[in-house]
Subunit: 406 residues, 2 copies
């Protein structure tokens, strides 16, 4: 008996017709003899409408009450899909977060799952009942409803799959899987059959919006096999698996890009010990995430230029924070640039292959693209370039690393 | 310290502006030093939309899942009103039915409240927090969410007032109180300052839609003082109280009418013992509520005409049931008539005053209105007349019983 968790996102349950279509798809999995637990998002638009209500009343709302309001979107879908399944003759029932329970911490509006009690749900599955669970919600330590933050339904699904010891967690979405590059930019991009958790994590962190970072982290930690696939077609998707499942290791798995970057350069920062801490400390206090950093070698040993990137939504706050600390930091000028994009080459294969970064720089040089900042991890090389070169860079790298489809 | 339960219906919380207005009204009660618990309905239109979703998927839905879907409407309002109160600086928190808990039976979609655990809510009130409760919902014996059926929020409010030992339960609605007659028909109708529970019950049962019958029953049983008032004005409403609170007993308190009636006449039913049971038994089995009944004296001791009324929505089912049993019942013909209205004269004062019914029949006779069926209770006389005489009859009776405003 195979036990599956199926997660359907907002567009997959966008209206009543789509909910009925999802029920038919679930039926084929039930007919194949599988035990099925389902995690659903709110119908598209519902969560935004509810958040709109809250903001209209009080921009600085109480997160506990916000959670009572917005968690209702998934609650509604869970009941509707259960009824749609029953209408097809499938035994089904819904379980709210507080009924399972899905225990979270008390960080309302952005709670983290602590544990899930899977016993009752497993009994229900073993009795042949399809279990329908609203994603994104749980119950806090004091018994109040909590939500996980936007996109939390992926996390709900993966955590539930871990708690139920499911054989696989299928994430149904509006794309057919994970591609070697954005198909809207690279015509020769192809869908990956498999990808490792780590590669998926790096891709999610550089802008591939298919899966929430947190969901991939949990899947990696608990060894949950994921499949990303489309609810609008009947094609197999991309499997996200442990590294040892990927037999033929690709050298590089994909080229990703993120436009959500902003560059800040502090000109002529005094080059003395501890200056980096004095710059990045206040930014961290202001909840600004700093990503890529490069410090130029100073000519005279007295002053240097420091460049780093932040997400675009954090730029204003970052500049404000730095200006407030200007006297202490002692820089001459602050320059910011939104005209940048981060391009990343990702692949677990690069651990055992030298020269990946070198080949990247040569390729971009050949294309006449200037590299502004570089950062690397074990399985990723990222560069910051001017935004107008995005398409040219991604396409050229896709070819250079042998990813173009035949 | 006065403890109040305030209930706001769908139009009172119809949109965000109205919810903010409700918060301001609550603030004035808090500023006056009262302990406040609030019961809210869903924003107008929300429940109908949710029911529409369910019916679009499956007309014969699972009531348990229906409850998960439709209970979300009140849940949303409870969170939004709590945030609106907090925005005004008032400590407030929401309590869902399963959090209080409000225990109900397992009749999903039309559950009845069994008991309410008021302890935690009372602690919260005593600590100075306004408590906001979604009406219409509770939790069944197996821990699943239940709903009380349409209009159940009145019942929630009264039951909560009883559980909290509240000094009064204020039902905010879109009318200013209980009137001696429908002001749309009788220009000289006036708002009653006080009315007894029993009178209110009779009024609710004959079409005055201001309060749910079940809510009045609970108020009567537990001695809960009710006030019906408008959330759109600042005027005092009508108090619904125990009989001993009404010092100057009105002879008659009001004239009500109900258009929701249909008349059925069985022609030449064989007049033998047990025939009434054979007629009304199958109707009860088909959940048809029979109201007024009149059996003519038979001329020959063999056959008689039997006339009774049912609600309009039950008419078709009643006719079908009777036709199926025609052979057993042995009637000659079945006639039905939708062109009828029930007019009722209500007042606890009629217990001690003879001649109320007599005066009613004379008045209607003087107006040339033919009385088709009569039924009486201790504090009510009802007659069935042709619908076109509704206005004339109500106005004439309003004058005859001395109810016309100066």
């Amino acid at each position: 008996m195979t036990r599956l968790v199926l997660k359907f996102g907002g567009t997959s349950v966008g209206d009543i017709e789509r909910i009925k279509a999802v029920a038919l798809r679930v039926k084929s999995e039930v007919d194949a003899g599988n035990e099925i637990a389902i995690v659903v998002s709110a119908m598209s638009g519902v969560t935004n409408r509810l958040i709109g209500y809250v903001n209209e009343i009080a921009p600085l709302y109480d997160a506990r009450e916000y959670d009572i309001v917005v968690s209702s979107g998934e609650q509604i879908t869970s009941g509707l899909l259960t009824i749609a399944l029953q209408e097809l003759g499938i035994p089904a029932r819904s379980w709210q977060g507080w009924q399972i329970p899905v225990y979270t911490d008390d960080a309302h509006g952005k709670a983290r799952i602590r544990s899930i009690s899977g016993e009752e749900v497993i009994k229900s599955l073993q009795a042949g009942t399809v279990v329908v669970v609203p994603g994104f919600q749980g119950v806090g330590p004091d018994g109040s409803v909590s939500t996980l933050g936007r996109g939390g339904s992926d996390t709900s699904a993966v955590a539930l799959a871990a708690a139920l010891d499911a054989d696989r967690c299928d994430i149904y979405t509006d794309v057919e899987g994970i591609y070697t590059a954005d198909p809207r930019i690279v015509a020769k991009a192809h869908k990956l059959e498999k990808i490792t958790h780590e590669e998926m994590l790096e891709m999610a962190s550089v802008g591939a919006k298919v899966l929430q970072t947190r969901a991939v982290e949990i899947a990696m930690k608990h060894g949950v096999r994921l499949q990303v696939l489309s609810s609008f077609t009947n094609k197999p998707g991309t499997l996200v698996v442990d590294e040892d499942e990927v037999v033929e290791q690709e050298f590089v798995s994909g080229i990703a890009y993120s436009r959500d970057e902003a560059k800040i350069t502090l000109v002529k920062v005094s080059d003395r010990p501890g200056v980096a801490a004095r710059i990045f400390g206040p930014l961290a206090d202001a909840s600004v995430n700093v990503d890529m950093i490069v410090q130029n070698v100073s000519d005279d040993g007295k002053a240097t230029d420091l460049t780093f990137t932040v997400t675009r939504s954090d730029l204003e706050r970052a500049i404000e924070t730095l200006n407030q600390n200007k006297n202490d930091l002692g820089y001459e000028d602050l320059r910011s640039d939104l005209n940048v994009v981060k391009i990343s080459v990702i692949g677990v294969g690069m651990r055992s292959h030298a020269g990946v970064a070198q080949r990247m720089f040569k390729c971009l040089g050949d294309e006449g693209v200037n590299v502004q900042v570089i950062s690397t991890s074990e399985i990723k090389v990222s560069v910051l370039i001017a935004e107008e070169f995005t398409e040219r860079a991604v396409r050229a790298l896709h070819t250079v690393y042998g990813l173009d489809a035949e």
